[in-house]
Symmetry: C2
Subunit: 383 residues, 2 copies
């Protein structure tokens, strides 16, 4: 069954005073108010969230949200796939409608992170890595540094090309009123920022963020009941890579990206050349290259050239991360995959304001761990 997204909403991302439940309620409420139907029609309500228990000692958050939004007795559950929880939530919501289990499904992703120290936050996130690597103190940023070094050497890419990802995404984020960072940055600022995991520097990393985003799903044939403007989910797929990163034979290829991307585009009966706009998981600048290449949006080892040539800027042939990406918009773990689809929804329905590009087909790639689990979604403008 074809599935549509008929409403989309997100909170401001950044350092928020609200707790997780308040953030989820804000985005969920915004989404419900956009649709032209009574909210009692919602049959399933999913929450994408990685670690509400670890970050703020709250469990049962999906049930709490259903009550806050007045959705009881709608069925609820929480979906966790670490940083890819949002994409996993989209896949779950899609399945709930495609299977006939629910005729109207609300998905709300969110995370509240900024109230704990960076060390605590890093430890919660790093505990997703393989025991063997975790015990040696390896964290996701260190994997990113190692991978960036391998990429630059192997493909003879200039360090500046990574900086250009940050420059581009901050430029986009400066036009997104909900982005955590509203300022543009220049290449020098990136290249002179403090080293975090050589060769990567502070501006190669996304921030720690609070925020929430929400989407509403229904059978495509019913979409017009809820809205005049909607998008359809043409393809969606998820895939894993080895849990231990050191077991991978080729450090510059993320197999989960390759597998999920190929399946999602096959399901959508489309290919990389048909993608007009993409939201990629730029938790680290190097990841934008790896996803462009894994998805076939650039040849292997050549994404850096396309970024340097401006092809992925807003005015380029294939705009990437028009929202600002994780880099500038922020990365509240469970919200991120959902927020990627919110941006595509706005681009494909023509309400992206200053960030608007010309697009009929959009792709979102949401990455958990260091490519450990990936979901790819292909959306098309409906109406």
């Amino acid at each position: 069954m074809a599935v549509a997204i008929v409403a989309a909403n997100m909170t401001e991302f950044g350092q928020r005073e609200s707790w997780l439940l308040e953030l989820l309620t804000e985005a969920g409420e915004g989404c419900l108010q956009e649709m032209a139907a009574d909210r009692t029609a919602v049959e399933h309500c999913y929450v994408s969230n990685m670690a509400s228990g670890e970050f703020e000692g709250q469990t049962g958050v999906a049930n709490a949200l259903a009550a806050e939004l007045g959705l009881v007795p709608a069925y609820t559950a929480r979906v966790d796939q670490t940083s890819a929880s949002g994409g996993a939530g989209i896949y779950t919501a899609w399945q709930s409608v495609a299977s006939g289990a629910s005729e109207l499904t609300l998905l709300v992703g969110g995370e509240k992170m900024t109230h704990v120290s960076t060390a605590e936050s890093t430890d919660i996130i790093a505990s997703l890595t393989h025991d063997v690597e975790y015990k040696h103190g390896v964290t996701l940023p260190s994997f990113a540094g190692l991978t960036a070094r391998a990429y630059l050497e192997r493909y003879d890419a200039p360090r500046e090309s990574l900086a250009e990802v940050a420059v581009k995404n901050h430029a986009n984020g400066s036009l997104n009123p909900r982005a955590q960072f509203q300022e543009t940055v220049d290449r020098e600022t990136v290249l002179e920022s403090p080293v975090v995991a050589d060769p990567l520097r502070l501006y190669d990393f996304c921030p720690i963020t609070d925020g929430s985003a929400a989407l509403l799903f229904c059978p495509a044939e019913d979409a017009a009941e809820y809205t005049d403007e909607y998008v359809t989910v043409e393809g969606i797929a998820g895939a894993t890579d080895s849990h231990a990163v050191h077991q991978r034979t080729e450090p510059t290829v993320m197999n989960g990206v390759v597998e999920s991307g190929a399946h999602a585009m096959e399901q959508a009966d489309t290919g990389p050349a048909e993608i007009d706009v993409a939201e990629l998981h730029d938790m680290f600048t190097i990841l934008e290259f790896l996803q462009m290449e894994g998805l076939g949006l650039a040849p292997q080892g050549r994404a850096w050239e396309q970024v340097m040539e401006g092809r992925t800027r807003r005015d380029g042939e294939l705009p990437v991360n028009t929202s600002g990406g994780l880099k500038s918009k922020g990365h509240p773990l469970g919200a991120t995959g959902v927020a990627q689809a919110v941006e595509l929804y706005e681009q494909l329905t023509g309400v992206a304001g200053d960030r608007q590009v010309d697009a009929e087909t959009g792709l979102a790639c949401n990455v958990g761990g260091f490519g450990n689990c990936v979901t790819t979604t292909v959306l098309e403008g409906g109406r």
Copy 2:
């Protein structure tokens, strides 16, 4: 699309030396070895788990499991709905097959709990309750005590009827080699055990448990490829009740049970009179009464009579909790709903050994929080 369960397995429940990932791997491996196909056919792998981060500081457990079981690049995610995570996992796995997203889905539920103190464990679990109630120190056992008192008074039920639930379920558990408690108990032992939440005593409560359980799902039309003996999911539904327990108007009725049970039986085109065997969520003895009544297996206020008359014993008209239930088999949160279906699978395929009853249709009810979210599943023997 009709969905079948073609393999089922569970670990011994109890105080285990293994960590969560080892428990999940044990049950998952057992399940995969039961089916007659290469495991690379598994397309989705879900983990039902409430709190791996809170209990043992591990996140990303679904991805770790896929790697341990050799399932990469299968898609994975973790499903959490507190104590009803297992039932939510079954619903998720069912949707993955019914939607066409996966042709073979492994679900593994588990929790590792006994290594933390009872106080810590209680706090992790209690954090699912509504803030207003949590701040006043209300825990699930205290809700159970209040509800039991209301039930006994309102329906003029003897205290002994609650004890009889424990006596029956321990008798069943004594025949289940994987149950945490292998001993029978008599009514006097229950009635003379220490008071926990008046009128409920120690033997009215399930223990804290480590364990895991697994199920394998595929389209019913393909079931014969994997096994000679399988069951079909005839109905499955989930529902919430108010998040704050004090907002409910009738303390002896759990609306989530009523709603999910009615929908699941409607989907299965069956009714309470057709149910031959049931696994109910007896976290507290009083819950077995509330579920029997909410599901229509007994008239409102009369479940206690049926228990006293022996109707729900193994040799009765409607055996309830032949596995021993949570009371005797144990309650590893994320595993429980999955283990309920494992017991029904064994009963309906005729491999339940000393616990075997005569049954064609089975029902499982999995309760999260204090009835905050409930899933009900109706299974039938196939072949």
